[in-house]
């Protein structure tokens, strides 16, 4: 935090707000430099946190000295008295050093400080939405694999129909000097183009769908909906397009081979 405050510590009349705290203050947004009042005490906003998806987004962070002062003054300044006695704390967040075992640290704290309950972040998240979502993942992957297989079969059937419809044309191309390799590449190129376009369209539709349903998802699960980082999204989109094209190549492989092996004479006489 000191790094983000320019090398200094948080002052007693300063506050750092969560990304969503402004909503509870009845404001459309908060900005650094705003002056806010909590329980009759004035605080200057010196920072606003990025969204986290958990309760921190709805919170404000002040020095502990400010909390005790705010509680003391709330008796005559605020509408409602803040019941916090000098020296009271409700929770401590311990930032464990990189490489340290959280379980060991938690156990040591419980031994050293009586009367406290220690919860590790894993235990927090294990009972949260993340574990519920993790349990859905295998099923979703299975459903996705099923749809992919259906797509392969449908594209394969489509290109078999295309080759059949164009038998005469393909025979004519061979009569004009097209090699079998050319015919094969022609069909495969069409498959690549179609599935690339289809993949791009699918990405666009999926993105629009996510924009529409992210609100209901967040509301139903009771968490903030967070978009992944730009690099992740770009990598995912690229990987998805590559998979779409690969699917087209796989599906059109057999029809392309069949097309390349057509005897020109028989192909040209199709329909006679």
């Amino acid at each position: 935090m000191e790094e983000h405050l320019g090398g200094r510590q948080l002052g007693d009349n300063e506050i750092i707000l969560g990304s969503n705290a402004h909503v509870f203050m009845g404001k459309s947004e908060s900005q650094v430099g705003d002056v806010e009042h909590f329980y009759g005490q004035e605080f200057t906003v010196v920072g606003i946190l990025d969204p986290t998806g958990i309760g921190i987004d709805d919170s404000g962070f002040v020095t502990i000295k400010s909390v005790y002062e705010m509680a003391r003054q709330s008796d005559f300044r605020a509408v409602k008295k803040l019941e916090i006695n000098e020296g009271d704390i409700s929770a401590l967040m311990v930032n464990v050093d990189s490489g340290a075992d959280r379980g060991d640290v938690a156990s040591q704290i419980e031994v050293d400080i009586r009367g406290v309950a220690v919860v590790t972040s894993h235990e927090l998240m294990s009972s949260s939405i993340a574990r519920q979502l993790e349990s859905l993942t295998p099923g979703l992957l299975l459903i996705g694999a099923g749809f992919w297989l259906i797509a392969v079969l449908m594209i394969g059937a489509l290109f078999s129909m295309v080759v059949n419809e164009r038998r005469r044309e393909l025979g004519l191309l061979q009569a004009m000097g097209a090699t079998r390799g050319f015919i094969f590449r022609l069909v495969m190129l069409e498959a690549v183009q179609l599935t690339a376009i289809g993949g791009a369209a699918g990405l666009a539709v999926g993105a629009v769908a996510m924009l529409i349903i992210k609100g209901p998802i967040a509301a139903s699960l009771g968490i903030e909906y967070l978009w992944p980082g730009t690099v992740f999204i770009a990598s995912f989109a690229l990987g998805y397009l590559v998979m779409a094209v690969a699917t087209g190549i796989l599906a059109a492989l057999y029809p392309a081979i069949v097309a390349s092996r057509l005897e020109p004479y028989q192909a040209i006489r199709t329909g006679e």
Partner: protein, 225 residues
């Protein structure tokens, strides 16, 4: 020169073995204009397809320019079809999604060399009598005009041989005459023409006539000189 040596093409249809072409032997010299006549189903189209390497004989050999074409690799055979042989088919064989100019230039894309230029293609369209149809699509042309464009396409690579299967199939008499005039004009340039027709009237315009009957090829009793 085209030569067929004891060529047979056999099919099995409904459990019955059919010799579409039965032990046919033929020599076509450079610059000849020959017609092959016969009823429907006599094997004329199969014979011409054998000459052009569009189908492989069951037995026998097919020679084009002294080379047994079925000893060639697929790539070499495709190049031979592209550079040495031009095809004119009975049906509208133009690619509907290409303009007439692009249709004419299409075979050149499979051949070596630079014969597919727009200028050369336009010259051929002028030669066949449809110079103003370069940018038109086949669906905008009459049957006769499409045949003319198909002839221009067959000539783009300056082949030594034109194989024409019923080139005037469903055309009116005047257009038939125009097409035959074109063939004679092309033949006069030294291009060998083998034309399949069921019309003895049209066959009479060829220098030599052969008869196809139930897969058997024979010389006509009346050959024009």
């Amino acid at each position: 020169m085209i030569e067929l040596r004891n060529v047979t093409k056999r099919y099995i249809s409904g459990g019955v073995t059919i010799n579409a072409v039965d032990e046919a032997s033929l020599k076509v010299t450079d610059g000849e204009f020959i017609a092959i006549v016969g009823h429907s189903g006599s094997g004329k189209t199969t014979l011409v397809s054998l000459m052009g390497g569009l189908t492989k004989p069951t037995t026998g050999n097919v020679f084009v320019g002294g080379t047994d074409i079925w000893t060639l690799e697929n790539r070499q055979l495709a190049l031979l079809r592209s550079e040495k042989i031009g095809f004119c088919f009975q049906f509208s064989s133009l690619i509907q999604t290409l303009t007439c100019l692009d249709n004419v230039r299409l075979p050149a894309s499979f051949a070596a060399g630079e014969k597919g230029g727009a200028g050369h293609a336009q010259e051929l369209l002028e030669m066949v009598g449809v110079p103003d149809k370069a940018k038109a699509y086949p669906s905008e042309l009459s049957g006769g005009q499409q045949r003319r464009v198909a002839i221009a396409r067959a000539l783009i690579n300056e082949p030594g041989i034109i194989l024409a299967d019923e080139p005037t199939g469903d055309l009116d008499e005047d257009t038939e005459t125009d097409i035959m005039d074109l063939f004679e004009q092309v033949n006069a340039r030294g291009v060998t023409i083998v034309m399949v027709t069921h019309s003895r009237h049209l066959a009479a315009r060829a220098v030599r006539t052969l008869v196809m009957e139930s897969g058997t090829l024979s010389e006509s009793s009346k050959t024009s000189s």
